[in-house]
């Protein structure tokens, strides 16, 4: 029996190997191609012949692939001269190199979908096929996205400091995507954020990691076996992953203690308060409203105000929630759903039923639409009965 390739190990090594190639003088796009080829080769060769030093193996093979490609390309011959002067393989690589990769792949010149694709490939070590399957697009489309992204950042110097906020946004986009195909993007986003947290000391990186862990801990309880949504109040809290929750809370507390509050830490704090409640009724809504106040201060986002209205509705009663809602734009996504929920709690079932139906028509995903339709149907049946 041949042992399966440890894909996690392989993917974990990807950014390091890529950074080594770039440091040795390979340009980013060519190095990235070479590393991908080395990864594919590893998947093929390792089951029968596992290397003693996986990283060394990958560096050697990727470097050979890079040289082959460079030699094949006459225009790049000059680079071989640089190569000859470079030190021998196996040199240690600084953590900063990995960090530079994150910055490069989330560069502001990239569109969100390009940044996501490049991050998953160059930092995450996923193959183009895996990324395409995860995003339900043809492999050719994803290949184009990746190569355009590489061209876009090809002129960017590798040693320039980047913006942590853009990296975090990209990782959160990956996390939010849900999952299809054979790669769990939420788990992948957590892995990449962990890796980032290991090379950079930043409270918002910790905040995002905590937020992801706290959300991920509740994932199993969020959908019924038939795929339908289970609202927070009805979730089986026994299925929450207490280990992940404990880890998320610990990371969050350490981050908050540094007194540099940011959006992700505040969101994680809200998630932690939910995770901390033994029952839905025991949720500390007053504190959640306070965290929403912080979030409004940090982001001034209408969507945050909408969520705050829900929290106010729980803390001070549905009338108070509806009063908050009255000051917001009715065109906001989920406005009708929130309004429906608050109207039902206030006892106005007819309005609630109408609003649930309206919310269902505006839903952007199937599970949510079905859930809202069921809510409307439930109230309409009650009103008829």
């Amino acid at each position: 029996m041949t042992p399966a390739v440890d894909e996690a190990l392989l993917r974990g090594l990807t950014p390091t190997v890529l950074a080594i190639l770039v440091r040795r003088g390979a340009d980013f796009a060519a190095a990235e191609d070479a590393v991908q080829e080395a990864l594919v080769e590893a998947l093929r060769v390792w089951p029968a012949d596992p290397p003693r030093d996986p990283k060394g193996w990958l560096v050697t093979v990727a470097w050979r692939k890079f040289l082959d490609a460079t030699r094949a390309d006459a225009a790049r011959r000059r680079r071989e001269d640089i190569v000859d002067e470079e030190p021998e393989p196996g040199q240690a690589v600084g953590v900063d190199d990995t960090l530079q990769l994150y910055f490069l792949c989330a560069h502001p010149s990239l569109t969100p979908s390009s940044a996501v694709a490049l991050t998953l490939r160059a930092v995450g070590g996923l193959t183009t096929r895996q990324i395409a399957a995860a995003y339900l697009v043809p492999e050719a489309t994803m290949a184009q996205r990746v190569s355009r992204a590489k061209r876009t950042v090809s002129g960017v110097r590798f040693d320039q400091p980047g913006d942590v906020a853009t990296v975090l946004r990209v990782l959160y986009l990956v996390f939010n995507e849900g999952y299809s195909g054979d790669v769990d993007l939420a788990a992948e986003a957590i892995r990449l954020t962990r890796q980032l947290a290991a090379v950079i000391d930043h409270p918002e990186v910790a905040g995002l990691l905590a937020l992801m862990l706290l959300h991920h801990a509740r994932r199993a309880s969020r959908t019924a076996p038939d795929g339908s949504l289970v609202p927070l109040a009805e979730q089986d809290r026994g299925r929450w992953d207490t280990r992940l929750i404990a880890e998320g809370v610990e990371i969050l507390q350490a981050a908050l203690a540094r007194d540099r509050l940011g959006e992700f830490q505040a969101q994680a704090a809200i998630a932690a308060l939910h995770a901390d409640a033994p029952t839905a009724e025991e949720t500390d809504w007053v504190q959640i409203v306070e965290w929403y106040d912080e979030l409004v201060r940090l982001t001034d986002s209408p969507l945050v105000r909408l969520n705050r209205a829900v929290a106010v509705g729980e803390a001070d009663g549905p009338r108070a929630g509806l009063a908050e809602l009255a000051s917001l734009d009715e065109g906001l996504p989920r406005y009708a759903a929130v309004s429906a929920y608050l109207h039902e709690r206030d006892g106005d079932l007819a309005s609630a039923a109408r609003l649930y139906a309206e919310a269902a028509a505006k839903a952007t995903n199937l599970a949510e639409r079905d859930h809202l339709t069921r809510q409307a149907a439930r109230l309409n049946t009650r009103l008829r009965g």
Binding site: V137, R148, G178, H215, N365
Partner: protein, 135 residues
């Protein structure tokens, strides 16, 4: 990061501004139109925004279940009112604005007299996968 369906109609859409039936165009104008669509699709493939696209036959059939043990009923009393979809394209773009921009571009395909056809295209967002975070 969001997928949209672009629908081109044979019938059922509001009339195009440059509304001359295709069989009244010159052959060159037809070729130019087809070429425009092909280039459009090819460019979307290059930008990594193309997902899929097909042209459809002009005649379709309405079908419905007609009860246990009976063959399905085809067509019906409403053949005149039915929409006819000429073709569809699925795109995957970063924003609704980008989807609108592309639909506008497709609607500008050349028609009679070499002028843009200004046809109405239907743009429908796909219902997405539920995000990981829902609360």
């Amino acid at each position: 990061m969001a997928k949209y369906l672009l629908l081109k109609h044979y019938r059922g859409a509001p009339a195009a501004v440059n509304d001359v039936p295709m069989d009244q165009w010159t052959p060159e104008e037809v070729t130019a139109h087809v070429q425009y669509m092909r280039v459009f699709a090819a460019r979307l493939e290059e930008t990594g925004e193309f997902v899929d696209g097909q042209a459809l036959a002009p005649e379709g059939t309405w079908v419905r279940y007609d009860g246990e043990g009976r063959p399905p009923v085809t067509d019906g009393p409403f053949p005149e009112t039915k929409d006819l979809i000429a073709g569809w394209m699925v795109i995957d773009v970063d924003s609704h604005e980008r989807a609108l921009e592309l639909a506008g571009e497709l609607s500008a395909a050349p028609g009679a007299g070499g002028k843009p056809i200004h046809e109405w295209l239907e743009l429908r967002p796909f219902l997405a996968e539920p995000p990981t975070v829902t609360e």
